[in-house]
Amino acid sequence: MTVSVAEQPSVRTARMGPPAATYRKWGRESWVRRAPLLPALVFLIVVTQVPFVATLVMSFMNWSAQPDAPGKSFAGLANFKTVFSTPSYRQAVLTSVEMTVTIVLVSAALALGIALLLDRKFLGRGVVRTMMIAPFLIVPIAAAVFWGNGILQTGFGLVDGLLGELGVHHAENISFLTTHPKLSIEIELIWQWTPFMMLILLAGLQSRDPEVMEAAAIDGAGAWQTFVHMTLPHVRRYLELSIVLGTIFIIQNFDSVLGMTGGLNSTNIPYAVYEVFYSAKDYGVASALGVVVVIGSILVATFALRVVSSLLSEEED
């Protein structure tokens, strides 16, 4: 950054040849302009980048906190081999991918449908919109513990209770959380994240040009045609944005696993890293897991940045 900013005035100097004083003034001015930016930049580098570099270093080390463990040493790629060869860790990677993809795609599809419904005028639209937003405003761990204990719990949970009321009695109550731990978490997170995506998509739908939509109707376009040829292309970027942002948040999900299943057959990467603190204490392997999450996130992020940059580039011109 410093290089490029220093370069540009000198290019101008060569072309137009202003006096040295102006050149100095430009330099000073760019520092004055940049000064407000620096505290935030420095703070973020220290608090987020430095720990990550430390994690990267630790992922190449033998480092265990077990009392009888040998001292720290260089491990090469051994920790990464452990991550990919230990079934439980490999499973955690797979679980993270599976749950994130399922939750994001189902939420996005549901959110699009609901946003289309809420885009129409009807009696009580504001009330329905408020009801729809509410799940997103429940503290994640509170939502997780209540879904785990008050709704999906065997016996006294709401689902079991409602089935009983409807006369669907069974010899033994369903223990949904233990038989379908991943699905339970997915349902809870879809409930919590659909509202978020719906809000973005609804804003997208409402930013359509009403005159263009009217023109389409006058020209005889049917509802389906309008949806496929006009609405869908218009909301596409909003759909991309909601998927990208949803992925960034959902891939980091820790609260639902902790609050609903305690990791039973549903340990994802964040939960696996967390467990290291309380059981394995193998810092090297935990760091390697952390690095794996980062690589996964970078893949998502590359796509994410492309989406967001298309939105920013319009403004830069």
């Binding site: 430390a54 809420l118 329905v128 509410a134 405003l137 209540f146 964040p270 967001v308």
Partner: protein, 294 residues
């Protein structure tokens, strides 16, 4: 929609009436569907509140005792002498409010340098901020844990959480604030500057009033994210600095009827977020989409 179906001449009126009725029926059906979905989404919350108002014995029956007498005793117990939520709530308020203030102190100048008087290559800086948000929190937690416990000897300390929550929310806040500041028309600023207004005057008289709703929305969203955070709080605190979300999770005590108490705790801890969320409702989307959606 159906109004555009081809109609034979002469039968126009009948067809139009029929199609209008059909359209009304479809519209009514869709409205009903919207209501049903809304109810499905809100029922878990209503049931949580209802359960929190039932006695521990009534809350945990099969099938649920819908009409059991209501009581506030679970909330009284929550603030009772033993195992009270009061200290965790105070910790949550402290960490969320202080970290939000710090975020604003850092983000507003940065956003100013990225929008009103943008530095060269300001998009690079924007993307640096965003990329730190894409780094999963779990990736740095081990060094942070070792540093706070072994190096600076500050385990179980709210200050550590405040610093971490500030870094967690700063990128979002910079993006949000930039989008709000970018809405300040440059023409006004230029006009004021021609009329001889200094930078400070422009800031306090023009930019501040216009961007105030944006600052408010940014603060509310940062507050929500800090309040909700569980991973750092759980790993880095134990007793003194325990936050409310961590406390709620400790209410699962399966040896006795715990559901009523747990529901009260879950409701209690969510109330500030619900208030903040609905207060920020108008700007919620713009904020959460990092300013990409207006």
């Amino acid at each position: 929609m159906t109004a555009l179906a081809p109609t034979a001449p002469g039968r126009l009126d009948v067809a139009a009436t029929r199609s209008r009725t059909r359209r009304r029926l479809v519209g009514g059906g869709l409205a009903l569907l919207a209501w049903l979905i809304g109810i499905v989404f809100v029922v878990p919350i209503l049931y949580m509140v209802l359960t929190s108002l039932h006695s521990p014995a009534h809350a945990q029956t099969y099938p649920p005792s819908w009409t059991a007498p209501l009581t506030l005793s679970n909330y009284q117990d929550l603030f009772g002498a033993t195992n009270s939520i009061r200290a965790p709530l105070i910790n949550s308020v402290t960490t969320s409010v202080v970290s939000t203030l710090l975020v604003l102190a850092l983000a507003i100048p940065a956003a100013y340098a990225l929008s009103v008087k943008p530095v060269r290559r300001w998009t690079d800086a924007m993307f640096f901020f965003l990329s730190t948000k894409m780094l999963p929190m779990v990736a740095g937690i081990l060094p942070i844990y070792l540093f706070t416990t072994k190096v600076i000897h500050m385990p179980d300390n709210v200050l550590v959480l405040i610093v971490l929550y500030t870094s967690m929310n700063l990128p979002i806040a910079v993006w949000m604030m930039r989008s709000f500041l970018a809405e300040v028309p440059t023409a006004i600023i230029e006009a004021a500057s021609i009329d001889g207004a200094g930078t400070l005057r422009i800031l306090t008289r023009i930019i501040a009033p216009i961007s105030m709703p944006g600052v408010a929305a940014t603060s509310l969203i940062c507050f929500i994210f800090a309040w909700n955070e569980q991973l750092y709080a759980k790993v880095l605190t134990s007793v003194t600095a325990q936050t409310a979300p961590v406390f709620v999770n400790t209410l699962i005590q399966t040896e006795h009827s715990y559901l009523a108490q747990l529901s009260a705790g879950a409701t209690m801890v969510s109330i500030p977020v619900l208030i903040a969320g609905f207060a920020a409702q108008d700007k919620l989307v713009q904020g959460l989409s990092l300013g990409a959606v207006k």
